[in-house]
């Protein structure tokens, strides 16, 4: 009895890692797989206290924050209430939900999901693209409704081979997409914040120019102030009536209203979308279209990725609490 009390007491002394909102990934993998003898989680959502009060109460022991997509953003207000925090770990690659300037100012380290999702996200992007061009989901539905036997052959799709692919954001994910599509005999060009020195793909200064010179745009960049609504009516018109867009970045990189209008009016030929501006809300107009493939933000959702992510999250936290270098540090501070 005494032993277990000691254990329990010891755990209570562990540094706390704050979670603001339930993280689906933890539930999917299983909470027990995040157990560590270096830290313990404290869940703000489990408390009946209003958030600010909860944070003030626990702030002395909260040393790190685990943030995820869809959770409340880690703002300067929140960081102000948690002066002991030295690390923010995110389960995503994107960091648009974290006030990075404030973290830097306070010397708070940041770790993200590094490149562990790159393969899965790139795979999914290619899958969405093939689906849109070859009408895989649409004709799968056609078969399931028994229409092949009654209505005859499904309308022809469009060949992937030879298409000019424009990658928006040539980071780990963009590069992985490019490498895959090259095997399908596609040609690759890209737009990024800066030209990449050791890359032979043609670089375009503006995303509009990229769109004008390719048949497919694949959005692989981060959501920042600069990239917010970067894909708008102008870019989509440049992409053209035969053009297809695939988004596995963030919904808000595309001006969704304008994209929907372009699709409705046939200004572009189709879209493969894993992300939307107001998930889980999806513009109703898209539901009627068979040249659009929709998925519920699952480009990273494989057990293999999740186990890798679990290792990375736990690894980063344990490294931090052991004063060792982070596994996937973001930023130069």
């Amino acid at each position: 009895m005494a032993e277990s009390t000691d254990c329990h007491k010891a755990q209570q002394d562990f540094p706390k890692v704050l979670i603001l909102k339930p993280i689906p990934f933890i539930n999917l993998v299983g909470e027990q797989y995040f157990a560590s003898n270096k830290f313990t989680f404290v869940e703000a959502y489990d408390s009946s206290l209003p958030l600010h009060q909860f944070l003030s109460t626990h702030s002395p022991s909260i040393k790190a924050i685990l943030s995820s997509v869809g959770a409340p953003p880690i703002t300067s207000d929140i960081l102000h209430l948690l002066p002991e925090v030295g690390l923010v770990v995110t389960t995503s690659v994107g960091l648009n939900q974290v006030d990075l300037l404030e973290c830097r100012r306070r010397g708070i380290k940041v770790a993200n999901a590094g490149s562990i999702f790159s393969d899965d996200v790139a795979d999914f992007a290619v899958g969405l693209l093939i689906d849109v061009l070859r009408k895989v989901s649409a004709s799968d539905g056609y078969v399931r409704k028994g229409l092949w036997a009654t209505k005859g052959d499904y309308p022809l799709g469009s060949k992937l081979g030879g298409k000019r692919i424009g990658i928006v954001g040539l980071g780990n994910i963009g590069f992985a997409v490019a490498k895959r599509l090259e095997a399908f005999r596609c040609s690759i060009s890209y737009n990024s914040r800066k030209r990449k020195p050791h890359v032979s793909y043609p670089f375009y200064e503006s995303v509009c120019e990229l769109a004008a010179n390719c048949d497919v745009l694949v959005i692989c960049c981060e959501l920042t102030d600069h990239t917010h609504h970067m894909i708008n009516k102008e870019v989509l018109s440049a992409l053209g009536k035969e053009g297809v867009i695939v988004n596995i970045g963030r919904g808000a990189i595309i001006n969704e209203k304008e994209m929907v209008q372009c699709l409705v009016q046939g200004e572009i030929a189709g879209a493969g979308l894993d992300v939307f501006e107001n998930e889980p809300d999806v513009p109703l107009e898209l539901f009627a279209m068979d040249n659009v493939v929709l998925s519920p933000h699952v480009a990273v959702f494989t057990p293999e990725s999740f186990l890798d992510l679990r290792d990375l999250v736990v690894g980063n936290l344990e490294a931090f609490f052991s004063n060792k270098p982070l596994l996937s540090k973001f930023g130069d501070w």
Binding site: R134, G162, V282, P296, T302
Partner: protein, 315 residues
């Protein structure tokens, strides 16, 4: 050439039909209920010097016997399983098909089927459209990159599939009639061994007497509950009854199918399954490839009737 009688066995592609009409004296078998007997009631059998068939209606012994002046069969397909090749050879009838121009599209679809099944893309599209995302997250799929891929038949299409799968970091192995000297992939002389060793088994060989039902219960069980089967060959490559029961019983993890034993019929039991992707035989069905195939059919016919070598001869 406008007087040369060419019979098209069924509607295949509007552009092909138009081209045949432009260059030859085209007869459409489906205007006679797709029946040779009906056709011969109103047409002279000896007017037909060429037949254009496809994977639906090809050229069998009955057709060959009905058209004594038949010189060439130009198939709007690469597969030759619907053509009585022995009879053609016996009668000195030339045969041409459409290789190469459709290789990329079929290989692309194979990868599309893999991703559709493993990453549940089709299922998630349905999930979003019926409004389920608002209630709950979709759940996990399975990673494709890095998985082991086994290819049955390392011909043009099999090789193209291998090249694409390699870009996803997959390991490639294959089963073929004989080992391919140029291929850097692991060769299995036994299809059971191939199925045991891989997670994704892809059928990409020609349909012959030897390969009929090459995917049987034993192969399916060797592939196993975590394995998936992709068929872009012919429906008859797979024992469909065994495939259905394996999927229903969970002995096979999933399947991506473009072909079936009795097209356009698809086993009803498959229609409700979330771990299958079903395509209506669309392997080469893009505008670009359909036109390229049509051009090749026309070119072969023109070459033959100009006494020039066929571009893509089989016999």
């Amino acid at each position: 050439m406008k007087s040369i009688g060419v019979l098209m066995t069924c509607p295949m592609h509007k552009y092909l039909e138009q081209q045949l009409e432009t260059h030859f004296n085209l007869f459409k078998l489906w205007h006679c209920n797709s029946s040779i007997t009906e056709f011969l009631k109103t047409h002279q059998g000896n007017t037909i010097r060429a037949v254009v068939g496809d994977t639906n209606i090809g050229v069998d012994a009955e057709l060959i016997a009905s058209f004594p002046n038949l010189e060439i069969v130009a198939s709007y397909s690469v597969g030759l399983d619907k053509i009585d090749l022995r009879k053609c050879e016996e009668k000195g009838i030339r045969v041409a098909n459409t290789p190469d121009v459709l290789t990329d599209d079929v290989a692309d679809l194979a990868i599309g089927l893999i991703l559709g099944v493993l990453r549940r893309i089709c299922a998630s599209d349905v999930y979003v459209r019926i409004g389920k995302w608002k209630d709950a997250d979709f759940g996990l799929a399975t990673k494709f990159s890095g998985k082991s891929v086994g290819i049955v038949g390392l011909g043009r299409i099999g090789t193209a599939i291998a090249k694409r799968a390699e870009a996803f970091g997959c390991s490639i192995s294959y089963f073929s009639r004989s080992q391919k000297p140029f291929a850097n992939y692991k060769f299995y002389s036994n299809i059971i061994d191939l199925a045991t060793s891989c997670q994704i088994l892809i059928v990409a060989c020609a349909l012959t007497e030897e390969t009929r039902h090459i995917i049987d219960r034993e192969v399916i069980d060797a592939l196993g509950p975590k394995g998936i089967l992709i068929n872009i060959g012919r429906g008859a490559h797979v024992d469909e009854t065994e495939l259905v029961s394996a999927l229903l019983e969970g002995r096979l993890g999933g399947a991506g199918l473009d072909v079936y034993e009795n097209e356009p019929e698809v086993p009803e039991e498959l229609l409700g399954l979330g771990n299958v992707v079903l395509q209506p035989h669309v392997g080469s069905d893009t505008v670009e490839t359909s036109d390229a195939m049509a051009d090749l059919v026309i070119s072969n016919l023109k070459a033959h009737f100009s006494n020039k070598p066929l571009l893509t001869p089989v016999i």
